[in-house]
């Protein structure tokens, strides 16, 4: 499942591919099944999912940029150490920024802002992509993967908030008689929701593959 398995031609992906791969074909959560820790822990409300996504997009784009800029200077032996140092730097910056923007969001995120350091999406992009590709493509890749992550988190967050609290972005949806399915706000609900989404996306891909192969045969 490592990001290194991305099939690319000898010239690497085009700009378009660099951006779009992360959103759909290589979606970090639903296809690569990376970054599960925030995807399960921080998706009990849509606001939390959004805040987490913004933080990850920022760290991903910035670390991709810096890693790509330094890619010809960093010796192979110490590359992981350098990547981690760079990622940790931008995570610290994010940590300060979130605290300055809203303390209540910062509290809701708990330890998960700091844990972006060990988010395997970011390290895998540094290792598999930006340490080998030019800067502009790496930035596109950072945005693509980041948006893919954001889409996945929002999918999780909206299901869990709507069913678990009966609200969307804090706005009540069902009137006062709705009894929230509290399990969806709890960790077990995170696993349930993730399972159902993975099932849905696997089914969707399989259906598409079958169609494609049928069309191939017909042609």
């Amino acid at each position: 499942m490592a990001g290194g398995a991305i099939p690319t031609g000898p010239a690497g992906p085009t700009h378009r591919e660099a951006f779009l791969n992360g959103i759909w074909k290589e979606n970090p959560v639903f296809v690569q099944v990376l970054g599960m820790c925030p995807a399960l822990a921080i998706t009990n409300t849509v606001v939390n999912a959004l805040a987490m996504s913004v933080a990850v997009v920022f760290v991903l784009v910035m670390s991709n940029t810096l890693v790509s800029l330094l890619r010809k200077l960093v010796p192979k032996e110490v590359r992981i150490a350098v990547f981690i140092l760079i990622i940790a730097t931008f995570v610290t910056v994010t940590d300060y920024a979130v605290k300055a923007i809203s303390i209540s969001i910062y509290k809701a995120m708990g330890p998960f802002i700091a844990l972006i350091v060990v988010n395997c999406i970011i390290l895998s992009r540094a290792e598999a992509f930006s340490s080998k590709q030019p800067v502009f493509k790496s930035i596109l890749d950072g945005f693509g993967m980041g948006f893919g992550f954001a889409i996945a988190l929002l999918c999780m967050g909206s299901v869990r908030e709507v069913l678990g609290s009966g609200t969307f972005l804090g706005v009540p949806l069902f009137g006062p008689n709705f009894e929230p399915w509290v399990v969806f706000v709890l960790p077990s609900g995170g696993f349930l929701t993730l399972g159902v989404w993975l099932l849905f996306f696997a089914w969707w891909r399989e259906r598409k593959d079958r169609r494609n192969s049928r069309q191939g045969e017909a042609a």
Binding site: L73, T89, T92, A97, K99, A100, S104, G164, V185
Partner: protein
């Protein structure tokens, strides 16, 4: 290689220091504002606070001025409002207490009125209680009604509570120093009651001894 590692570390260090310098003041203001807001909710009408750090074991009450990064965090707030003529009037004090709830650490604020000898306001500011069950202590109106005037009279000597705060089963409250638990959230309710009792026993005698100083509101 060493030079490169040094250079990368320097760049990262600079980025972090810059971020810290840019955000430090906003973060401090945010924290102070959140605290002012929370204290204002516990003791409505507060327009001005004077912060104190209380060390209950050493029996000291020292002023903890605004924006001071070092020194103990303030845990006692003397609250004032203003009459029409621009004079400060002493409303009471708000204390911060912490303890253990059902789900983990819990932090609460409570307002104490020395004139009424009662707890007159209460708010949970940090908790990990179970959603749908224990977290009712945050908003259950009947439960919060306990703290509109909870008797915490001191005994004759003034160094202990005349009656301990007791948490009783839902619907069996008979005395003004009892807390009526929420049915279905008994453990969390009891945790609140015990936390208040422990904190009031330590703080209130100390507050009485320093009352004149607190009424003056510092320098």
């Amino acid at each position: 290689m060493i030079a490169l590692l040094g250079a990368v570390s320097t760049i990262c260090g600079l980025i972090i220091v810059t971020a810290d310098m840019v955000t430090a003041e906003t973060i401090r203001n945010n924290l102070a504002q959140i605290r002012r807001q929370a204290v204002g909710e516990v003791l409505p009408g507060t327009t001005e606070l004077v912060k104190y750090a209380v060390d209950a074991d050493a029996g000291t009450v020292t002023e903890a001025p605004e924006g001071e990064a070092k020194g103990p965090a303030p845990n006692l707030f003397a609250c004032f409002d203003e009459d029409g003529a621009g004079n400060r009037r002493f409303l009471g004090v708000v204390c911060e207490a912490s303890g253990k709830g059902y789900g983990g650490a819990m932090k609460v604020l409570y307002a104490y009125s020395p004139d009424k000898q009662a707890i007159v306001g209460f708010k949970v500011i940090e908790s990990k209680e179970t959603p749908g069950l224990g977290d009712k202590i945050l908003f259950d109106e009947a439960f919060l009604g306990n703290f509109e005037e909870l008797d915490v009279r001191l005994d004759e000597a003034g160094d202990a509570l005349a009656h301990d705060i007791e948490t009783v089963k839902h619907g069996t409250k008979t005395a003004r120093w009892q807390v009526d638990a929420i049915s279905g959230a008994t453990v969390s309710s009891r945790a609140v009651g015990d936390m208040l009792n422990a904190d009031a026993r330590r703080m209130l005698p100390l507050i009485r001894r320093h009352l004149d100083e607190l009424r003056q509101g510092g320098t």
